[in-house]
Amino acid sequence: MPAEARSDGRIVIVGASLAGLRAAETLRDEGFSGELTLVGEEPHPPYDRPPLTKQVLLGRVRADDVGLPRRRAVEARWKLGVRASGLDLYGKKVLLANGEQLPFDRLLIATGTRARPWPDPDAARLDGVFTVRTRDDAGRLAERFAAGPRRVLVIGAGFTGSEIASACRERGIEVTVAERGPAPLVGALGGTLGAFAARMQRAHGVDLRCGVTVTGLKGADGRLTGAELSDGGRIDADIAVIALGAVRNTEWLAGSGLAAGPRGVACDAGCRAFDMYGIVTDDIFVAGDVARFPHPLFEYQMLSLEHWGNAVAQAEVAAHNMISSGPHRRPHLTVPAFWSSQFGLNIKSIGVPTFSDQVVVAQGSPEEGRLVAVYGYRGRVTAAVSVNRAKWLEHYRRLIETAAPFPPGPGAADRPESAEPVPSDVPDPKVLSHGPTVALTGHLPDRRLTLVRPGG
């Protein structure tokens, strides 16, 4: 049956965070007049996660205060505090954990991710062991920070782990960071900026241990006392924050017949979900962290982006396409972007730095703590990362969008003397503690060879 523009009927959105909210608003903005239901596992109305590891852990903002503003009223039924437990594609129903069934004409899957837990469930239950994904997590951890712990152990030095370590230092809390890879942030930004991040952490008094794994968490009387490291070392700590990356919330789709698995829910460039046979569905859409989608700027590789901006942009495209007929549908082509602030620095990224073989510092320098690093793959620009140099990044977005030659030409007034490209040194994700926030799950670059396995 051909897709037709439909502004009525029943739409269910599973996931009531950033992507689900912005999708709901876009649906109403574009004239959807039917019945709209949002389902959220957390009991809270939509809130913003980026402040959790920053303002909240610094004690400047209460975890309860991070609610998201709405763009408009959505006139929806909100089912909060209830988990979706299954999807019946034939009957077109979402099954909820409380036994309720939600029939739909079109469905948006925006269930996002959750924190990867510590692998030993007994140790994970020790008092003092935390993950930070929800506002409740962050609120509890902020309370413990305020109480003045002796030492915090952060396991995993991706963006989340690094921001938490930064908050600790700013509050004067001793912190050890343990990372299996060679440097912090290396999984997202490669070797050059990884080395920069390592120097920055140490300069701020972080006890940074790279190339080690935490082999066990130790406790006494149900409380965490410390951890053992693979190099034989031992850390005494009363708090451990597990920052091992994220797990995509797709278990509820197991057996549904959709192409859903640990890498997310596969969809086309218009956010329509694939089924397990690789056939695109016409009434099931995906957006946000849980989606994996092909991007033409990155050789149509399947991307999974744990980015705030992607959740917004993809939700808008998905919502538009849910109520538009075939030729009026839009592709999700936004250039990926994210930011992080840590140790007083503003780090911003445009493009996909891990999609690279070389990197060059095109402006500024790591020594002055202000720079733009440009990434290339097979002779074209694929990404740029700025540190306290955000005003230039727009220029590099244009280079990425136009597949400009790498390295970029000379002319920048603050170009360093030795602007020679070096290998970008993006490690295999398997060697990292922290999961990468961008997962390339297609056929390139060669090291990341992974087959799309429908039904995961």
């Binding site: 095109a362 402006q363 500024g364 002055e368 202000r370 733009v372 005003k391 230039w392 990044l393 727009e394 220029h395 244009r398 030409g409 000379p410 002319g411 920048a412 007034a413 603050d414 170009r415």
Partner: protein
């Protein structure tokens, strides 16, 4: 007419009251090369791209063509507005320390009450029945000048001295064609030197005797990257004093003129003064006080909409033309105080975006709010009013209003 002379026509004094048809002509042709080898750009997207392009220098000493308005050999070096990173960045950050966040976050916000008081006093001085008022001389000029003097720590009684210097300096980058600029540039150089020495001495007098003003902070406070040297301190203070003098006066005056020409907008603002911040943003789009950035220069050959602008060529970004680009703004020639998505170029963009923008915003919001309830009873004596000669810092020289009969 040839587009090669477009800049001459824009700079022609006869165009001052309404340069916008010429800007439309500029946009139609995209990038326009002038007969002197300079290039004009007037479309929004291209200007925005160039303002974020690290290959575009603000240092006109790097031009490879003769630059009659450029600095002479005996001139003091440029202030940060005419420098590139990393020097620009270092000096701008040092100047920001006593002005705004992160080191002085509340400084400008804390001036609101005093600005309101000064504006109120000036308006109270307007006099009574039937008297004509010159909005420029009686209000829009003295307000920002008083504020910048307080902020910098410059005695207001010296105002006549630095007003003369400021006028001469600004005339020095007035590129009215058909006139030998040499004499003007020489006078400007001398005025700039005199102003620099004056401000330098003033700052030195505070060394070791800190007071609550920016000159004192610049000379006394130690930043991690050190302090400005004597020359840097002088060029920076000259920049701040001139910028505090010559731009906000235009913004306020353009605001009064525009509101008097749009009684509907004026009435709406009187009903809902909370719209004032939006109205000021629209004003910055519709009648920006800095019409163009005349001192950019590419450090490599740069392609702009299919035209290669060669390394070293003077590149003039006409912000006021970009602000009326129909590809970016719906109905761009309409003054709409509730315009959504108003990402105008009134303060430029990128690393050189206007340093004093927050102060100009607050001053203009307060100035126009102070006048709101008086303007409805006033009419323009002359429309268009007489303009200042300068095509870059464009604004009325006088704006005489009188009570309605």
């Amino acid at each position: 007419m040839s587009t090669e002379t477009l800049f001459h026509r824009i700079a022609d004094y006869a165009s001052r009251p309404d340069p916008y048809p010429l800007y439309a002509e500029l946009r139609e042709h995209g990038v326009v090369r002038q007969d002197d080898g300079s290039y004009l750009v007037g479309t929004y997207d291209e200007i925005a791209a160039l303002l974020h392009d690290p290959r575009i220098s603000s240092d006109r000493r790097l031009r490879t063509v003769p630059d009659p308005l450029g600095p002479g050999q005996d001139d003091v070096p440029p202030a940060f507005i005419g420098l590139d990173d990393p020097e620009h960045d270092r000096l701008r950050r040092l100047t920001m320390r006593p002005f705004g966040p992160p080191h002085s976050p509340g400084r400008i916000d804390a001036l609101r009450d005093e600005i309101s008081r000064i504006a109120g006093e000036l308006a109270d001085g307007f006099g009574g029945d039937g008297k004509r008022i010159d909005i420029v001389d009686d209000f829009a000029y003295p307000l920002p000048v008083t504020v910048i003097c307080r902020l910098l720590g410059v005695p207001t009684e010296d105002e006549p001295r630095f007003r003369a210097w400021s006028d001469t300096i600004v005339a020095g980058f007035d590129s009215t064609p058909g006139e030998d600029p040499e004499q003007r540039v020489r006078s400007a150089t001398e005025a700039r030197r005199a102003m620099a020495l004056y401000l330098g001495e003033l700052a030195e007098s505070r060394r070791g005797h800190p007071s609550d003003d920016m000159l004192s902070a610049l000379v006394n406070d130690e930043a991690p990257e050190g302090r400005m040297n004597r020359i840097e301190l002088m060029t920076t203070s000259v920049l701040l004093l001139i910028a505090g003098h010559e731009t906000t006066v235009n913004l306020i005056t353009n605001g009064v003129l525009t509101l008097l020409r749009h009684p509907d907008a004026l009435a709406r603002l009187r009903d809902d003064p909370a719209l004032m911040p939006q109205a000021v943003e629209e004003l910055l789009r519709y009648e920006p006080p800095v019409q163009m950035l005349p001192q950019r220069t590419p450090l490599a050959d740069v392609e702009v909409s299919g035209v290669t602008v060669p390394q070293g060529a003077p590149l003039i970004l006409v912000l006021a033309a970009g602000n009326r680009d129909p590809l970016r703004f719906a109905e761009p020639d309409r003054f709409d105080i509730t315009r959504p998505d108003n990402q105008h170029l009134g303060f430029g963009s990128g690393v050189h975006s206007c340093f004093g923008a927050p102060l100009a915003r607050i001053e203009t919001q307060i100035a126009l709010t102070t006048l709101l309830h008086r303007l409805g009873d006033l009419r323009l004596v002359e429309d268009p009013p007489p303009y200042r000669t300068n095509p870059v810092l464009r604004g009325p020289r006088h704006l005489v209003v009188e009570p309605r009969a």
